[in-house]
Every structure is written in structure tokens, then in C-alpha cells.
Amino acid sequence: MNNETKPFSFKVPEPTSRPGDEPDFTGMDIPAAGSVRRPDIESSAEDMKDMARTMVRVLNRDGTAVGPWADPDLSSDTLLFGMRVMLKIRAFDHRMLSMQRQGKTSFYIQCTGEEAISVAHQLTLSPGDMNFPTYRQQGLLMAQDYPLEKMICQILSNEKDPLEGRQMPCLHSAREYGFFTLSGNLGTQFIHAVGWAMASAIKGDTRIASAWIGEGAAAENDFHSALVNASVYKPPVILNVVNNQWAISSFRGIAGGDHATFAERAHGYDIPSLRVDGNDFLAVLAASNWAVKRARRDLGPTLIEWVTYRAGAHSTADDPSKYRPKDESDAWPLGDPILRLKAHLISLGIWSEQRHIQAEAEFSDEIRSATKEAEKSGVLGEGSSRSAMFENVYKEMPDHLVKQQQELEN
């Protein structure tokens, strides 16, 4: 019946540029700040599909906040706090990278370029809410003044490591801070967040969940099971997809994000979604607030695609110059979140170049001394207890583990 055939070709998407090429972001559609509408939080998914193919942006080129997503009531305190936390994270990441080079930790993951997302998002959550993070959301903890030393002790797997050396560096767990135990397995936490939010709904609670996943990991199947369950039971959960363009060496096209957006994935599940400039602190704050309000009002899940760029290496085990142009990060059209907020703060008259430099120095000092303090409890696994290995496998140690522990001790 169909004779109009031709031999098929196999198509593998390629990024616009590879090492040696000029970075090229010309294909990226970036609406002007302030140009995108702000739907009512009661809008149905169907009524706001346009939001998934555009980008919510608040900060203008000149650093002013414009458009319907700009919040006139935003306090200087919040903005300054956000700035300080982002600076702290950057200093922290910097320090930890050198710790790794010095052999004091086996591994580290930085979030450079993506700080605004987790920091601003956390500012919209309340105590009792629960994040289900990936390894690049140290900002969720930092924004709550999580003790630096404790964080470093985890990274050093030392005597004071709250996880007693069981987990790789950066895979924190902090229930008190609404920070779910990190899995080394990509994607699994996305459905946990949905289940947690379902539980909150079942109990008539008022606490919400916030789930995190990278654009690469959004290809994992747990993404689907999370969206299906969120679609069916409409629990109070925010589904964050951090699209930082790269998943180790694979660009977003290998995750199916070359033509459709990750925000569009929500539509097939009747879930409203937003696509947001993730390097715009004010846009992150505004969009998170919007989704948090929806959830609190029991209007159900929201998916947010945060558009950003992984400015650093994937981890200390990675060398990005092998698969993308060295200067691609500089060419990234959404800029750096710290510099953009800085411009805004300066335009508001509440910050200056000098205070910026001063703050950088302060954090560098604070982190240096926290590091020194932490190192006293050991580096690279020093001081971790052998017996901790057998504990917490079960609530009570079963006989066979008791015997195995004895076997080790003898």
C-alpha cells in the first residue's frame, strides 16, 4: 500500500559544537525578561501549555527586575541573603575541589553556575517540607545555614561524618533540614518525592515535597513513574528538572531534549509546568513561589524546567574539555547567576563591587577555618569506625551480621 519508501538513515543528535569548534547557542530562543505572562495558580495544565516552550525571566540585561514575575514585595534581606549563600557555595566548591586534589577526599561535585536554583528555591520552602535532591543541590543545605563543618566532615568521611563513612562524598542526608538521603542511583528519588507528598495528602498534612532531577536523568524510568503517580493522585509536590545542558559527556539531545522541552513532558500527564531561566535568581524565586503556592493550596503538582548550564566539570573524575568546547561556559547566553544578581543588587543600591569582594574574602576565610576544624577529625576516611559498617543495615543487627562482625574482629 505504501510504496514511497527509501532506505532509512540512523540519526544520532549532536551538540552544536565539540572541542575545537566555536561554542554556538544561536539556536536557543531566549525571550526578553518580563515578556512572559504569569498564569493564575489555579490554571489547568491545558490552559498554560505555552509556559513550557518559553522562559520565565525577571532580570533585565541592566540588572533591573521587570514584568509580571517581578515581585515588588521582595525584601532586600532576602536578596542579600541569597547573594551571600551563593557566594558561600562558590567558595565552598572551590575549596573542596582543592581538597580533592590534595587527596583529602576521594571525590567532589561542584554546582558552579547553578547556585541560584537551589538557593532561591529553598527560600520559598518552609520547615517540614522535604527536598529529594540530586548531588548538585548543596544550595538547599547552604541556604539553611547547614553547619559547614558537618558538611565537610561528610565529604572527608571522617570521624564526625554524620553518615559514619558509609556514603560517598556529597551524598548527604539531613532530615532535620528537609534534605532526603541522596542516592548514587540517578532518578530514584523522583518517585520518592511523589510518594512522600502522597503520604502528606493522606495524612491531611500541610507539608510539601520538592523533587530534583537532572535533564540527563530525566531519561530514567523513575521520571515516568513519578509523573504518572503525580498525575493520578495530584499530591503536593514540585518536580524540578535541572536542565544544565550536559549529562557527563552527553548533551541534552541525548536525553530527548533537543526539540521538545523538558517542561513539555508534564503535559501528557495533566501537570502544569513552567520553563524558567535558572540563572536568574529572581525568576527562580518567583517561579518557585508560584509552584509552592499551588502545592500549599492543594492544587497539586507543578513541573519546573530550570534552564542553566553546568559551568564546571561533571565531578572531580571528569574532564569536560574532552567533549565540549573549553569556552562554551563563557558563551552561555544566560550568564552567571551570581554576576546577574550582583548587578541587580548594585542597581538597587544595596550592594557594591567592594562589598562583593569583601564577602568573597569572608567566605573564603570562613570555609578555610571550617575546613581546618573538620580536618582535625580526619581526612579521606580516617577515623571512620569499622563497626559502623555493620550497623543500620537493619534496625536490629541479625545474628548472621553479628557473626560476620566477629569474624572481622578476630
Partner: protein
């Protein structure tokens, strides 16, 4: 005391926990309005409401994954995977998440949940409604794995599982749901009425996790079995006139090695029976531990009678199933060793 089928005993156990503990929630494919394809949750949605007992999308990974999230919140989910053959899509969520939560967070988060799933063959279900994948869970630290053989144990162990603070895999031999089954598929099927272990106490009681029971006492040889194979082994012992001691393991992990050791040291001979595929089945672990612990008491090699190392076939079901003839023959062989 009420005489109950295994389905009724399981339902009663869930009912009791739903009634006692507001944090218990029950969900899975077809378990809500309809009450489950094997009727184990029949009537419970009506009784406890849709927030406590509900239908889930056909996504086993999501059922377990959502359960992990709920358990981390503080609930005690008791979920159903419709057939054990369909538990593999959930394998990552079970192994990498449910089993690991407590360990990797140093107790900061835990996953007290029960995963119920009908297992085993004998219903002409072919390769995707007959499997016994228990060994795939006993290899995973952080999990407990249970398989009851009768209504009394089923209810008591299920209540214990739901109350346990660690994740429990609870396999229900579907061929036992409505009656004991000794492998004589060509004889009229029996029902539970009159069976001593179908006398189920009303209300709350538990059977301890990690304790085997001596199902039948004997001196000639020890049979290690669980689920349907307990009944098959009993029939084989009767029919061959073997003075077999049958241990019903009930819990596979943690294993009650003491009860096993005592028996094997007494009899000096050990037969292991399971329906699952032989290679790397749970019988391998049993054989390894028995020879480790009872080496000097063993008068003959430990024998395994199991399903073959093939998928579970449809038409050849009864050639695959380790029935009383094969078990009886192994008993005789084991006794023949001087």
C-alpha cells in the same frame, strides 16, 4: 479462632493493621475497588476509605518507589505486586532504595514497608505467573524475605512484617491461597477447612520473623522447605514412609540456622526442596550453610530437589514442578547412602 483460607488470613492480617494503625496504607494494581485479583484486599477500601486502600497505576517500580517515599514520611505501606513475576521492574527501587535507605542515611531515613506478592506455580500460569524469585531478595542486605505455608503463619507473619521497621518481601504461594496443595494435581483439590493451621486466632498476633518451625518431626532425614513445598514434602514423606523431619523455614532472611542445625545434626541427612530454578536458588545458600555448620554430622551429600533451570513452562508445568514423586525419590536416595 476461625477457620480461614490463606486469602482470608492475609486479608484479616491487613484488616487488623489498617484498624490498629492509621499509618498503614495498602495499594497496588486492582487492590482498591476490586479488592485484588486474588481477593486479598476485598472489602478493605469500603471499610477504610480510598485514602487507606487504593488502586495504583500499572507500574511496579512506582508502587514500590512511592511506597519508599511514604515510608520515609512515616507511613507503613503494605503494597501488592500482582504476581512475583512482575516484581523485576521494581527491583531497582527495592534493592537500591528500600533496602539501602537506613544504611546510607545512617538511620536518618528508614523504609518500613511490606511488599506482598503471590508466587509459585501450579495454576497453569506459564512462565509469567509462576515464578519464585525469593533468592534474588535473600542476596540483598537490608531486606527480610518471608514465605508462609499456611493461614496461621500467613496472618501472624504478615502482621509482624507490617510492624517491622525494615522492608520485608512477603511472598504468598498462590497455589496455597485456597487450600493446602501437596503436588497431586490430578487429585481433587483440598480446601483449608479442617487443617490445623487453618485455625486462625481472631485479632492481633504475630509469628516472629526469623524463626523456622518444625513442621513434622522425624529422625531419618531433615527436609528444608518453605511455601508449597512444605506440603509436598509432607506428602512425599508419608508416601515413602520416610521418617523425615520437615523444617518450614517461614523466613528465609534472616535465616533460623539454629533450628536447621539442630535437626541436621540429629538426622545426619539433609534434603532441600524449593520450587524456584535450581542454580543460585535459595537452596544453594541452605546447602552452603548446612555443610558449613554440620559438616561432621553429615552422612550423605545434601540433595536439592527444585524447579529445573528453565523458565516455568505452561503445558509441562507438572514436569517442572518438584512434586511428591521427585521429592520422595530423593528421600529414598538419601536414605540409601550407607
Amino acid at each position: 479462632m476461625t477457620s480461614m483460607t490463606m486469602v482470608e488470613a492475609i486479608r484479616d492480617g491487613i484488616d487488623i493493621k489498617l484498624g490498629e494503625d492509621d499509618d498503614v496504607v495498602v495499594f497496588g494494581e486492582d487492590v482498591g475497588y476490586f479488592g485484588g485479583v486474588f481477593r486479598c484486599t476485598s472489602g478493605l477500601q469500603e471499610k477504610y476509605g480510598k485514602s487507606r486502600v487504593f488502586d495504583a497505576p500499572i507500574n511496579e517500580s512506582g508502587i514500590v518507589g512511592a511506597g519508599v517515599g511514604m515510608a520515609a514520611y512515616g507511613l507503613r505501606p503494605c503494597v501488592e505486586v500482582q504476581f512475583a513475576d512482575y516484581i523485576y521492574p521494581a527491583y531497582d527501587q527495592i534493592v537500591s532504595e528500600a533496602a539501602r535507605l537506613r544504611y546510607r542515611s545512617n538511620g536518618d531515613f528508614t523504609a518500613p514497608m511490606t511488599i506482598r506478592s503471590p508466587c509459585g506455580g501450579g495454576i497453569f500460569g506459564g512462565q509469567t505467573h509462576s515464578q519464585s524469585p525469593e533468592a534474588l531478595f535473600t542476596h540483598v542486605s537490608g531486606l527480610k524475605t518471608i514465605m508462609p505455608s499456611n493461614p496461621y503463619d500467613a496472618k501472624g507473619l504478615l502482621i509482624a512484617a507490617i510492624e517491622d521497621d525494615d522492608p520485608v518481601i512477603f511472598f504468598e504461594p498462590k497455589r496455597l491461597y485456597n487450600g493446602p496443595f501437596d503436588g497431586h494435581h490430578d487429585r481433587p483439590s483440598k480446601n483449608w477447612t479442617g487443617h490445623p493451621l487453618a485455625d486462625v486466632p481472631d485479632g492481633h498476633y504475630t509469628v516472629p520473623i526469623g524463626k523456622a518451625s518444625v513442621y513434622r518431626e522425624g529422625n531419618a532425614l531433615t527436609v528444608l522447605a518453605y511455601g508449597t513445598m512444605v506440603h509436598v514434602s509432607e506428602a512425599a514423606a508419608e508416601e515413602t514412609g520416610t521418617d523425615a523431619e520437615i523444617i518450614d523455614l517461614r523466613t528465609l532472611l534472616p535465616l533460623d540456622i539454629e533450628t536447621i542445625e539442630t535437626s541436621v545434626k540429629k538426622t545426619g541427612r539433609c534434603l532441600i526442596v524449593h520450587e524456584a530454578t535450581r542454580t543460585s536458588g535459595f537452596g544453594a545458600e541452605l546447602a552452603a550453610q548446612v555443610q558449613e555448620n554440620c559438616f561432621y554430622h553429615l552422612e550423605a551429600p545434601i540433595i536439592r530437589v527444585t524447579g529445573w533451570d528453565t523458565p516455568y513452562p505452561h503445558a509441562q508445568e507438572w514436569h517442572y514442578f518438584p512434586g511428591p514423586a521427585r521429592v520422595g525419590k530423593a528421600m529414598q536416595e538419601l536414605m540409601e547412602v550407607a
